[in-house]
């Protein structure tokens, strides 16, 4: 089992190669050149230095968001095209799942929070215990107030992680019973680890069917419908 993971859903870019025995190669750029310029050379570098040929891959894993739309599409387009050309499936994983999995050694409520810009965040709630990290609901989008309210409803101490949690650290700490983990960006290493488990269960799909998780419609469509209502 050999999987290439591509991570471009936030400001960072990551590419990792791995299998059942763990990660073979990993390239991570937390902040730097634009995603479109970084991903392909990173794939090439990781393969060359790990002595892996792309044709040896069994699947491509990709972070399908939620996150920054243009960045996400760079990774997803790359994954789709690689999978199509190599005739292998894609394992889609969400940015929130990747972030939550980074807290697998923690015990309790884990809440990944990805910066959605425009004063909003994407988040989801997970339980981390001996059995692993389990999602407790669907990913959400809203203002920080909405997240604080959701945490209040749950009434449980939470470990928050992700760039959204860091951007709104003060509001979260003031409004909710939570601690912040240092993790800011989803890691390609973790993405590959999740994808290996899913690939062993054949939880994958054809490249053409892989779709991003935007959770927010284009502004033009929202404005258009508002206009319709007003008219």
């Amino acid at each position: 089992m050999l999987i290439l993971g591509i991570e471009t859903a936030t400001e960072s870019v990551g590419v990792a190669l791995g299998g059942r025995d763990g990660v073979l190669a990993s390239v991570a750029i937390a902040r730097g050149r634009r995603h479109g310029e970084t991903v392909a050379p990173a794939v090439q570098f990781a393969c060359q230095h790990a002595g892996v040929e792309l044709r040896d891959l069994d699947a491509v894993a990709v972070d399908i968001g939620p996150g920054l739309f243009t960045g996400m599409r760079v990774g997803i387009a790359t994954a789709k095209a690689l999978a199509m050309a190599l005739d292998i499936p894609v394992v889609p994983v969400t940015s929130l799942e990747v972030l939550a999995e980074a807290a697998e050694s923690y015990r309790g409520l884990v809440v990944p929070v990805v910066d959605a810009r425009k004063g909003e965040v994407f988040w989801s709630m997970h339980r981390s215990d001996e059995g692993g990290v389990t999602a407790l609901g669907e990913p959400s989008i809203g203002g920080v107030d909405d997240l604080v309210a959701a945490l209040g409803e749950r009434g449980q101490h939470a470990l928050c992680l992700g760039d959204g949690a860091h951007r709104h650290a003060t509001a979260l700490r003031d409004g909710a019973d939570c601690a912040l983990s240092s993790e800011r960006h989803p890691s390609a290493d973790v993405l590959v680890a999740i994808a290996v488990r899913r690939a062993l269960r054949e939880e994958w799909m054809s490249a053409d069917l892989v779709a991003p998780l935007y959770l927010r419609r284009p502004d033009a469509e929202i404005n258009w419908e508002t206009r319709e209502v007003r008219a």
Partner: protein
């Protein structure tokens, strides 16, 4: 990566700079084996123009099915493909990046070169897809929704800007006037259709900047159309469309002719979406015949954005300059004059 680039070199072209997702296979820079274009016009029509985020989303949905279809239509084994060319600019950044990312990934997977292509340069190669017996220098008239350019082409890859628009692009003027007259979207074909039933001499609209310069201006013409319709609310919109189109075409043809004389061009090459306009094709052809200059017109399906022209331009770029680096980014405002 050293490779021979000749008449047997098969290039996959990819185009996602605006609102068409396209892929094509072209052999030897001229022979179109397959060409698939998935248009997003219907998605943008209600907004009256292309919405970048809507375009980016649609490109991502379409990219692999369109490439698959281009390969299937050609009936070739993907391993036969020698290079992958893709538009890197100018265009919408979020749209461009889908094609560029996919093209690089395909090149990596197939272990063939990646070639970045300038969309404007590719438009003029669409005229050469039908006839590649070129003699330089040539004058290129590139007219689309985003550009109105007169360019001297002294050799493959060698360009000099002779003139451009100081305000609206010609295609933009078509869109705006069509919207004002309620003729539909996109404006170019809508005006062209309405004009066939109208009188081009019904209204004498101004021919802007016919002063011996090679720059264009279309915003005054657009205002003249609006003012005329306001003063004559009962005017037949088909006459307005025909008269407006005649004014645009007169200016384009006159300046192209003037540019060709100045540089001693052997011919005039037409490119861009507005190259599909029937009056422009007819008048430019007539001027070419009168002056003894060849006129290269792209096939109508090759006027709008397509990937065959990207593959053709990519073949020339590969032959003359070699592959592009994999860290080449998308360049939203890429000019045609690179050297």
């Amino acid at each position: 990566m050293i490779m021979r680039v000749d008449s047997d070199t098969l290039v996959l072209g990819i185009e996602t700079s605006c609102d068409e997702t396209a892929a094509a296979l072209v052999m030897g820079g001229t022979d179109v084996i397959s060409s698939v274009v998935s248009s997003q016009i219907d998605l943008h029509a209600r907004f009256g123009g292309v919405v970048p985020e809507v375009a980016g989303r649609a490109h991502l949905e379409q990219i692999t099915p369109v490439v698959r279809e281009a390969i299937a239509d050609a009936g070739v084994d993907p391993r036969r493909i020698n290079a992958v060319a893709c538009t890197v600019g100018p265009g919408l950044i979020g749209a461009l990046l889908v094609g560029v990312s996919a093209a690089k990934a395909l090149a990596l997977a197939w272990e063939v070169p990646f070639v970045g292509v300038n969309h404007l340069e590719a438009h003029l190669y669409s005229a050469f897809l039908e006839d590649d017996s070129l003699e330089f220098p040539l004058v290129v008239l590139l007219v689309s929704g985003g550009h109105t350019l007169l360019i001297e082409m002294s050799d493959h890859g060698r360009y000099r800007l002779l003139g451009g628009t100081i305000d609206d692009a010609a295609g933009e003027a078509f869109d705006k006037v069509a919207r004002y007259l309620d003729l539909g979207y996109p404006g170019g074909p809508a005006i062209d259709r309405a004009a066939t039933e109208g009188d081009p001499e019904a209204i004498r609209f101004p021919r802007a900047m016919s002063d011996g310069g090679l720059d264009f201006s279309f915003s005054g013409l657009k205002t003249a159309v609006v003012n005329h319709v306001r003063r004559h609310p009962d005017v037949d919109s088909r006459d307005v469309a025909a008269s407006f189109q005649a004014a645009v075409v007169d200016v384009l043809v006159d300046k192209a002719r003037l540019a060709a004389e100045r540089v001693g061009a052997t011919g005039i090459v037409l490119g861009g979406g507005v190259a599909a306009n029937s009056a422009l094709r007819r008048d430019l052809t007539a001027v070419g015949e009168a002056d003894g200059r060849r006129v290269f017109l792209p096939g109508r399906e090759m006027c709008t954005d397509n990937a065959a022209m990207i593959a053709a331009a990519g073949w020339h770029r590969l032959r003359d300059d070699g592959p592009s680096p994999l860290d080449l980014g998308a360049v939203p405002s890429m000019p045609i004059l690179e050297s």
